[in-house]
Amino acid sequence: MRLLSLEVFYVVAGILLLGVALGLALDRTQPKRFGSALFWGVLAITFMAGKALPPVVTGYLALALVLLAATNRLGGPTESEASPPERAAAAERLKNWIFVPALLIPATAVLGTLVLSKLHVGDVWLFSPVNVPVVSICLGAVVAVAAGLLLTRAPARTPVQEGGRLLQTVGWAVILPQFLAALGGIFAQAGVGAVVADLVARLFPMQFPFVAVLAYCAGMALFTICMGNAFAAFPVITLGVGLPFVVQAHHGNVAIMAAIGMLSGYCGTLVTPMAANFNLVPAMLLELKDKNAVIKAQAPVALGVWTFNVLLMYLCVYRF
């Protein structure tokens, strides 16, 4: 038996989303209160009952979320945040104690990964073995809220209100990563990768060892840019370009090719809006006007690391 798993935290998040939805439904100052309440309410259902509902039903619920967002039925935050003097007064009162709950998040993550995930009494384990880092960080969030409430003596509704306000700041972009992952899955089911790998293999003169390396690294980066996820690109490009050309035709080292190939895919992740959780959600969280600002800040590093990877792979893969 496992006491803490992702499913537990999906229910916690679902309850929170439901609270936000209810608050919105009752908020007369919110001009789009019903559309907003419906959006967060439906999302709450997919969180709490996602495993129980038939996939086709969840699919249509997800489609409903998209239509609500696309027809502009979601309102922005109406509750104003605390004024600067209020915040400064609180900061003066709490001094550095305010950091304690914030630092409990990484501290719990460390403790969870290294210690708590190994605790068990007989067959009863504290943690599910799947996704320990994510479970640890979720536990950290819950611990931190409790500590924050104790420290600030704020009423229990404050974190729900403030969380809801921030959630509305991010808006529908918060579910974009889930949709992009779904799109990646459908691409994989439809066999898009094989077509791309075939194209790359035909476009480049693969008889040259350097070109094989270049095509593999370029394929990893470009397909990751299309999919938003290097993990989805890796099997496709490695089977379609890497193994047949770098390994079989030119006798390259499999481990070196694969390790550096994956990291070349990450360079693609840094520059694509399809990797919404890394590039677009932060832009919303940080309230940036230019939604591509994070990508622009990362582009020079991505290009530099990718070039380094191509050279490193070429210099090492045929040698070891």
Partner: protein
């Protein structure tokens, strides 16, 4: 070739700035139809993947209440105050230190945060605070640039630490994929070959962080010139 219709729709949709969710769903439906799936099959596939990938949204949603609560009580202001006491701190240096911490901890298999838990409430305000202490008031576009680099510091540290010392997600996926094709490689070897890139990425980030500090100086100086 018809299967690439999804990629074309995504490119076109981003180009025309149509609602991204709508573009993504349209691309999925078009690709599914091109591959001969029925509409209900496509919806079922969307449903399955949507549920499987809830964890991507989970960490953001769960983190926002505590971030909101602490920000209401002056967390960001305090982070700025604290960093201003350090004379050596610049925005770039703050971000370099954070990236190093992130790279090392993720290499040990520990995820200490993410964009919602660390970047918004702590890292971005500290970087802004450091720049503010050095240069005085910052033009709006400079603040934007600093914040964007704070998000980048988190991503660069996260991506290029993961595949090194300890075998986690990505390395296991590589091993599994190669195993299915009849190639046996050790996790240690895969991790080992992730290390050079980790150092290269950190070196490049150091260069970007210095460029950021120079850019802040330049933009603040330009902002202070009297407007004719």
């Amino acid at each position: 070739m018809i299967k690439l219709v999804g990629i074309a729709i995504v490119a076109l949709g981003f180009g025309l700035r149509i609602n991204t969710l709508l573009v993504v769903v349209a691309a999925g439906i078009a690709t599914g139809l091109a591959a001969g799936m029925s509409f209900n099959e496509i919806m079922a596939a969307f449903g399955t993947y949507f549920v499987e990938n809830r964890y991507l949204t989970l960490t953001v949603v769960l983190m926002l209440p505590v971030v909101g609560l602490l920000e209401r009580h002056g967390l960001r202001e305090r982070a700025e105050t604290l960093i201003r006491r350090s004379r050596a701190a610049t925005a770039g240096r703050v971000l370099v230190v954070y990236t190093a911490v992130r790279q090392i901890s993720i290499a040990l298999g520990i995820n200490i945060g993410g964009q919602a838990a660390m970047t918004r409430p702590l890292v971005a305000p500290m970087a802004e605070g450091a720049a503010h202490a050095r240069a005085g008031s910052l033009p709006a576009k400079t603040t934007e640039t600093i914040r964007a680099h704070a998000a980048a510091a988190e991503n660069v540290g996260n991506f290029f630490g993961e595949d090194t010392v300890f075998a986690v997600g990505a390395v296991l996926l590589i091993q599994g994929t190669l195993h299915a094709e009849g190639h046996e490689v050790s996790l240690w070897l895969l991790s080992w070959w992730g290390i050079p890139t980790a150092f290269a990425a950190f070196g490049l980030w150091l260069w970007r962080a210095r460029a950021l500090d120079r850019r802040i100086k330049r933009e603040v100086a330009a902002g202070e010139e009297p407007h004719a």
